[in-house]
């Protein structure tokens, strides 16, 4: 048993949505792995941008356009620093999915061919599966999977065995599983992939919101994440890439802003990161994500992690007392993020979510965009509770009470 400690954070009041009630009940939001709630600081930064600073960025001569550019590019600097990346190699995308697609299209189509292997894992989100399926189908490469053990872990030995084929060109894997909660040994994995002469891509969609992340120290070739799961707005994701790879890559989307010169037949490309940012940028969203990382930096990601680990430990302990409940994934809270998938005997996950909703408890039910993992686990779907910095032990207790209530309704 891990020692019980008091959760480190009490920041519910920073998030305006928690003033809402549903049928007179407070909102118990346990779906942060799908999207996080937003602190007032983020909402206000975007509102202020539109009210006082809105103009298109880059190339504007007038003062207002310079303000907008400074706000947007200033946000990029802080976002890069927050994740341990360089500003020039921190590329804005629409979301993590687009960041991964950028790599699959702009790097993959040039470097992956027949007989090559793209290696992923059975615990990936569809966003880190389907782009590689499309790449492999187009190029004749083979898509291979690292297995997931019954307790929700990857095997480094199996990774070594796959890499030993010498055919792996790129390995892509989640930092934290959005279903199992497993925190993968990504630094070890990146080192092994590099030693085998392949590139690595980490899907950090669940990692950046939950852990202190230093992409420079991790040294992956690509690290993708998304703003809206990290208390930021929707519509903005981030791709950190290794400079020499990004410089050698062809662009992803063509259009304005990503060019240096455009001739009648051909063009030359802008510097990093703008070479990969065609069209008008998500300016307000960049400003909003800048405010989000400021907010998270203010909390301290070590404290966010400690808070969510303690909540997860508490929730796992309480859930163990619910008859017929089976938690999926690693047993302890030590190498698990704030994500708990479970099955409740006799009640389908969809009904679990419906019944919990009546008690004001928001959880997700379904395949969580991980259908291959569901098949591997032999379950049609799971219910999933996930935590953010604003959650408390009371939220976990409300989950347990609502589950007991659900069992009563189903007369189990």
């Amino acid at each position: 048993m891990e020692a019980a400690t008091t959760p480190a954070l009490d920041v519910r009041a920073d998030f305006p949505i928690f003033t809402r009630e549903f049928d007179g009940r407070p909102l118990v939001y346990l779906d942060s792995a799908a999207t996080s709630q937003k602190p007032a600081a983020v909402i206000e930064a975007m509102d202020d941008y539109y009210r006082r600073h809105n103009a298109n960025v880059h190339r504007g001569v007038y003062a207002l356009a310079q303000e907008a550019t400074d706000l947007f590019e200033g946000a990029r600097e802080r976002i890069a620093a927050f994740a341990g990346g360089e500003t020039a190699t921190t590329i804005f995308t629409r979301n993590a999915t687009e960041a991964i697609n950028l790599v699959a299209y702009a790097w993959g189509r040039e470097h992956v061919g027949p007989g090559d292997v793209v290696l992923i894992t059975e615990m990936e989100h569809h966003s880190n599966i389907v782009p590689w399926q499309l790449l492999c189908q187009e190029t004749g490469a083979e898509l291979r999977y690292l297995g997931v053990s019954d307790d929700g872990r990857l095997s480094l030995d199996e990774l070594d065995a796959e890499l030993a084929s010498g055919r792996v060109k790129l390995a892509a894997f989640a930092h934290i599983s959005n279903v199992l909660g497993t925190i993968n040994p990504v630094a070890d994995m990146v080192a092994r992939v590099r030693a085998a002469g392949a590139l690595s891509l980490i899907d950090g969609s669940q990692g950046v919101p939950q852990l202190p992340v230093d992409v420079g120290a991790l040294d992956a070739d690509f690290y993708a994440w998304t703003g809206h799961k990290a208390v930021g707005p929707t519509g903005i994701g981030v791709l950190h890439g290794r400079r020499e790879i990004l410089e050698a890559m062809r662009p992803f989307l063509g259009g304005g802003d990503m060019i240096r010169t455009v001739g009648f037949q051909e063009s030359t490309w802008n510097d990093l990161p703008w070479k990969f940012e065609a069209g008008t940028s998500m300016i307000a969203e960049g400003v909003g994500l800048g405010a989000a990382v400021d907010y998270l930096s203010g909390l301290g990601m070590e404290r966010v992690r400690a808070h969510e680990r303690e909540l997860t430990r508490h929730a796992l302990e309480r859930l163990a007392g619910v008859e017929g409940l089976r938690v999926i994934g690693p047993a302890g809270a030590g190498d698990r993020g704030g994500v708990i998938s479970f099955e409740l005997a006799g009640i389908h996950p969809h009904d679990v979510a419906e019944l919990l909703n009546r008690d004001g408890v928001c959880v997700r039910a379904g395949h969580h965009c991980a259908m291959p993992l569901m098949r591997r686990l032999g379950v049609p779907a799971t219910a999933r509770a996930s935590f953010g910095p604003y959650n408390s032990r009371e939220d976990a207790d409300a989950l347990v009470a609502a589950l007991q209530h659900a069992r009563e309704v189903f007369q189990i």
Partner: protein, 130 residues
């Protein structure tokens, strides 16, 4: 008494009628609800006069989808197979007899979708699927 999970709904969920497989069978279809991962298949026997004489459904799903399939299964038997094509979403929701919210309509209608696919080859959602 719960509005949605009434006694008879839970009874059909826990003890579904006409559940399983049927071999040999004349018609079959299998489909899933991508929203929640529910899946359902049907095996149907049709008599010489074109009426459904026997059927079984199988798969896994929530209480609403399973109860809808179980309750409807008794209605299908004895029905001219061609009549199934004319059934719409309201038919099965009326049979269920519970308020079905927009988010649960596809749960309720999955069985009718699969039945229609088996009989007509049309795998689209029945009218009124929301």
């Amino acid at each position: 008494m719960d509005d949605l999970y009434r006694g008879y709904i839970l009874d059909h969920y826990k003890r579904p009628r006409n559940f399983g497989e049927l071999d040999p069978h004349d018609l079959e279809a299998h489909d899933h609800n991508p929203l929640c991962g529910d899946e359902m298949g049907v095996h149907i026997r049709v008599g010489e006069d074109g009426t459904i004489t026997e059927l079984r459904f199988h798969g896994q799903g929530c209480a609403i989808s399973q109860a809808a399939a179980s309750i409807a299964s008794d209605e299908y038997v004895g029905m001219p197979a061609g009549d199934v094509a004319g059934l719409d979403g309201e038919w099965i929701i009326d049979l269920l007899g519970i308020p079905i919210s927009a988010t649960r309509r596809k749960c309720a209608l999955l069985n009718l979708k699969v039945m229609r696919a088996a009989i007509t080859g049309d795998a689209s959602w029945p009218a009124g699927s929301g």
